[in-house]
């Protein structure tokens, strides 16, 4: 549908070191301005709890995890820093896709697997990531990257566990990728 709006081919990606340097400056600016780092999974949590509060308030009140979260975040979904940050991420990535001519609905997968397998794997992977990010008190951005920037031992331990485990499991799921 959106494929090749301007009939151009996709632009290349940014030099990874330049992208990393810019991301590092952004993270530094974020810490300097707000006193905290970047995040992503926190917004998912915020969205989930707010949604559940709307459809099943009694259930929310009966569960420690949700009720604690509600008690600590009284201002609502759109007054949550991470939620607004993630809305920004959506716009930013969209604009980047637009200028690089990468806006297109598609399922990216290895030729060895079907789209269906890819989607199932994405669902399982996402579920694990969502669960793990709660234990890790943050995901790759909030725990690993931001934790590394502020020299938090926990953040760096979580980072090593993420990458170590991914390497370990990579062999078993190689059919998904290569």
């Amino acid at each position: 549908m959106m494929k090749s709006i301007l009939n151009k081919t996709e632009a290349g990606y940014m030099n990874p070191y330049l992208a990393g340097f810019l991301l590092g400056l952004l993270l530094l600016a974020t810490i300097f301005i707000t006193g905290r780092g970047l995040g992503a999974s926190g917004a998912v949590k915020s969205g989930l709890v707010s949604g559940m509060q709307l459809i099943a308030p009694e259930h929310v009140a009966s569960k420690t995890f949700y009720s604690q979260y509600i008690a600590q975040h009284t201002e609502g979904l759109f007054k949550n820093w991470l939620v607004l940050e993630v809305i920004g991420v959506i716009f930013g990535a969209f604009v980047s896709g637009l200028v690089a001519n990468r806006l297109t609905f598609r399922i990216e997968h290895s030729p060895n697997i079907t789209s269906r397998v890819r989607l199932i794997a994405a669902l399982i992977g996402g579920t694990l990531f969502g669960l793990g990010a709660q234990f890790g008190r943050g995901c790759t951005s909030g725990a690993a990257l931001s934790g590394m920037a502020v020299l938090s031992a926990g953040g760096i331990i979580t980072m090593m566990a993420i990458f170590g485990a991914a390497y370990f499991f990579a062999y078993f799921v190689r059919k998904l990728w290569i």
Binding site: Y17, R36, V89, S96, I107, H109, L123, G130, A166
Partner: protein, 402 residues
């Protein structure tokens, strides 16, 4: 100076900042290729190390920046959010996320960026993330023991491995550089045999050398930088030695006089470490150890008070530095107790009260004063018995998490 929220930017404006920061975050993620699960997974099969390059460059850049900002006093490191370490949960969470990463091909941030450009697999991944958080919420009661086990607080990585923060930054920079070189070799090998599509690094190898040298040089300098506290101390010591600055002092007689008159314009600050309780701090003194004085709360106190601050410590040397520091940040009225608490109590020694019989015509005002001070001190101690606690740290809520 930093963090700028909430003191310089309001919390409302902070939400605008969130959108702007998010915008750039998303833009950079997408530009770097993090919207492609194939590129992300490449890290684990050796055909594309873009994740490692972006991630490590970003981490090292931010880390160097945070340490430097702290050193220059631009950023108060005691106020920023440090991810707390709950050891078991941190490892368990990381392992689960690692499995999720290699199966799903994204992490939460990258999946949002990928979904924004239309990747359907990324949208499904996000649905999965929601389910994952839901599972955690539903079974939180069962997970709670391990979730909260082994709390090590705001544990710093450099303390964990027993080096200075600067040394760790230097190590991390060199490790990252070594990893960049090493993984490029692997990538080239893997891609030669498998004909992958992404020849990032090949012909442009040399252009990176100046940047690599710059990063290593900066981090090497950081490794030898003293901490902010050490730097301030050295500066103050030099100023004192060169007599560029002389601290305003207060003699024990003057201070004793103010104390027994219960001068309401006087604030006594005891700079000794909290554990040093002998001799006792002067009555009504606030205990602010010297290193805390350099932090934001101490600095704010010095700047904002309308009272005359009398700094005290055992010998009086530290107090002189504190006075110079106070003057540098704009408080001209602070004074240091000459000779310190040691001399003060030598003069007004409870165990050696001059007897009334020793009074003669010549010395009677001094002896009388001495006796008066010693007796008054005792009653003042009683009065302040409950007030001599360290000042409660202003509870500024730190929030964070991914």
């Amino acid at each position: 100076m930093g963090p700028l929220v909430p003191e310089i930017f309001s919390n409302e404006f902070n939400f605008v900042i969130a959108l702007v920061i998010g915008f750039f975050f998303g833009f950079i993620l997408e530009q770097a290729g993090f919207s492609s699960s194939k590129k992300l997974a490449g890290l684990f099969y050796g055909y594309d190390f873009v994740v490692l390059r972006v991630f490590f460059t970003a981490g090292v850049t931010a880390m160097i920046g945070v340490v430097l900002f702290g050193y220059w006093g631009w950023l108060d490191l005691s106020l920023i959010y440090i991810n707390p370490t709950f050891l078991y949960s941190a490892i368990l969470g990381g392992v689960i996320m690692g499995a999720g990463f290699i199966i799903g091909g994204f992490c939460p941030g990258t999946s949002i960026a990928a979904a924004a450009i239309g990747k359907i697999d990324a949208m499904v991944f996000i649905v999965g993330t929601v389910i994952g958080v839901f599972i955690f919420g539903e079974f939180f009661e069962s997970f709670e023991p391990i979730f909260n086990a082994y709390n090590l607080g705001e544990w710093k990585i450099y303390d964990a491995i027993g080096v200075q923060s600067g040394t760790f930054v230097f190590l991390m920079t060199t490790v990252a550089l070594a990893a960049f070189i090493f993984t490029t070799i692997i990538e080239n090998k893997v891609n030669k045999t498998e004909k992958s599509t992404l020849p990032f690094f090949k012909q442009e190898k040399n252009q990176y050398i100046p940047f690599a040298v710059l990063f290593v040089a900066v981090s090497a300098v950081i490794a030898f930088l003293p901490t902010r506290q050490e730097a301030v101390m050295t500066e103050l010591r030099e100023e004192l030695r060169e007599n560029k600055a002389s601290a305003e002092i207060i003699t024990h007689t003057e201070l004793a006089y103010k104390i027994i008159k219960e001068d309401s314009q006087l604030m006594i600050i005891d700079l000794r470490p909290i554990n040093d309780t002998l001799p006792k701090a002067l009555p009504g003194a606030r205990r602010i150890p010297f290193d805390k004085l350099l932090s934001k709360e101490g600095t704010d106190l010095i700047k904002k008070t309308y009272k005359t601050i009398a700094f005290t410590d055992l010998s009086g040397e530290l107090s002189k530095k504190a006075v110079i520091y106070a003057r540098e940040i704009g408080n001209e009225r602070a004074v240091a107790l000459a000779g310190g608490i040691y001399l003060f109590f030598k003069e007004y020694d409870k165990t050696n009260i001059p007897s009334a019989a020793a009074i003669n015509a010549e010395n009677h005002p001094t002896i009388n004063f001495k006796r008066e001070v010693i007796f008054k001190l005792d009653s003042l101690y009683e009065k302040y018995a409950n007030m001599n606690k360290p000042p409660a740290k202003e509870n500024r809520k730190k929030s964070g998490g991914c």
